[in-house]
């Protein structure tokens, strides 16, 4: 048996390099990941806890940040909906601790829905809408980015302060030209 062991070792050592070659770590391939850098004509979304992508819906989780020019939105869950494939963008829904800033304006809500087809933003749940012209609080506030007019839908309306430029047209409707609010179409 003394000669058998070396023979077995020789045979096994012949077989082992095959496995070793099989398990060799792959080198870093030099693949150029394309993509445009975030310019002024792009809306940038970053998140910390990953995202799910399906046909017609993209969901971002954890410390989501949306940057669009001078507008910044922070939330915990952001969902982007597409009507058909990726031809255009339909609705963007921001949920949980939504915080929007633009120039001197600020909006806080539990949920914000932006409809790209009619450019109406709907803020719901503990809404505070603060601009240099006025500070509003309510449960539901809708704001049209095209006409710069909004409406407080809920019964509880708290107009904290008003300044020059803000108009209140009764029936909870208001008009506030948000400073620095650029046209959505470029």
């Amino acid at each position: 048996m003394k000669t058998a062991l070396p023979c077995l070792l020789v045979l096994l050592s012949a077989a082992c390099p095959l496995r070793a070659a099989d398990a060799k770590p792959a080198g870093q391939p030099a693949v150029k990941m394309g993509g445009a850098s975030a310019g002024t004509n792009t809306l940038l979304i970053v998140c910390d806890n990953g995202m799910e992508f399906t046909n017609g819906r993209v969901a971002y989780r954890g410390n989501v940040q949306v940057l669009d020019g001078d507008m910044s939105l922070n939330c915990e869950l952001l969902t982007v909906y597409f009507p058909t494939n990726f031809g255009s963008l339909d609705v963007i829904v921001a949920e949980t601790n939504v915080f929007i800033t633009q120039a001197d304006s600020l909006a806080v809500a539990d949920r914000v829905v932006y409809n790209a087809t009619n450019e109406i933003v709907t803020l719901t749940g503990n809404v505070i809408f603060d601009t240099p012209q006025a500070t509003l609080a309510g449960e539901v506030i809708t704001y049209n980015l095209r006409t710069k007019q909004g409406r407080i839908e809920s019964k509880v309306v708290n107009i904290i302060s008003t300044g020059a430029g803000a108009k209140f047209m009764g029936s909870n409707a208001f008009s506030i030209p948000v400073p620095g609010n650029k046209p959505a179409t470029k």
């Binding site: 979304i45 046909n55 959505a184």
Partner: protein, 166 residues
């Protein structure tokens, strides 16, 4: 008086050793042959077609997904290590819906899934929508579900938003 057979005699050792050697050769040689049969596949293409249920009326395009890769190596469990993989997903009208690019991934041919701890880039056909992740992903192409881990960056071109406006 019975004589017990002696197993310690030299006559038993060599047949036993030879049997052992033959057994080892029988195990190792097929393994070696099997590995030799699976060389790295270069510049491969796999086409995935729309199923009969998915086909729409008057649809001429039948290609749903096109998988291309620079190199593929067989891995245990029916998995394939693919380098520079690209998945083109097509709409029923033939236009490109989205493109997925991965420098490296483990691809399950049967389940049509791809996984990696590395980078991924998903772009719409017109590149108006671009998602990139660097910390792992999982793709299931049968129902188009892509999950990106940890930090993810997305760029949406304003044209995509303005296209929704009437």
């Amino acid at each position: 008086m019975r004589v017990r057979p002696s197993f310690s005699s030299r006559g038993w050792r060599w047949p036993l050793f030879l049997c052992l050697v033959v057994a080892v050769i029988c195990v190792c040689l097929p393994l070696r042959a099997q590995l030799k049969q699976m060389p790295a596949l270069k510049d491969f293409k796999i086409v995935d077609y729309f199923s009969r249920e998915e086909m729409q009326r008057g649809q001429t395009n039948q290609v749903k997904n096109l998988f291309t890769g620079a190199e593929a190596q067989q891995r245990p469990g029916g998995l394939v290590l693919v380098r520079q993989m690209r998945i083109d997903n097509f709409r029923p009208d033939g236009g490109t819906n989205f493109i997925v690019r991965m420098p490296e991934c483990i691809f399950d041919y049967v389940d049509r899934t791809a996984q990696s701890t590395g980078r991924i880039e998903v772009a719409s056909g017109d590149r108006q929508f671009l998602i990139s992740g660097r910390e792992g992903f999982s793709c299931r192409l049968t129902n188009t579900l892509i999950i990106l881990s940890n930090r993810v960056r997305t760029e949406i071109h304003h044209n995509l938003i303005s296209l929704a406006k009437p």
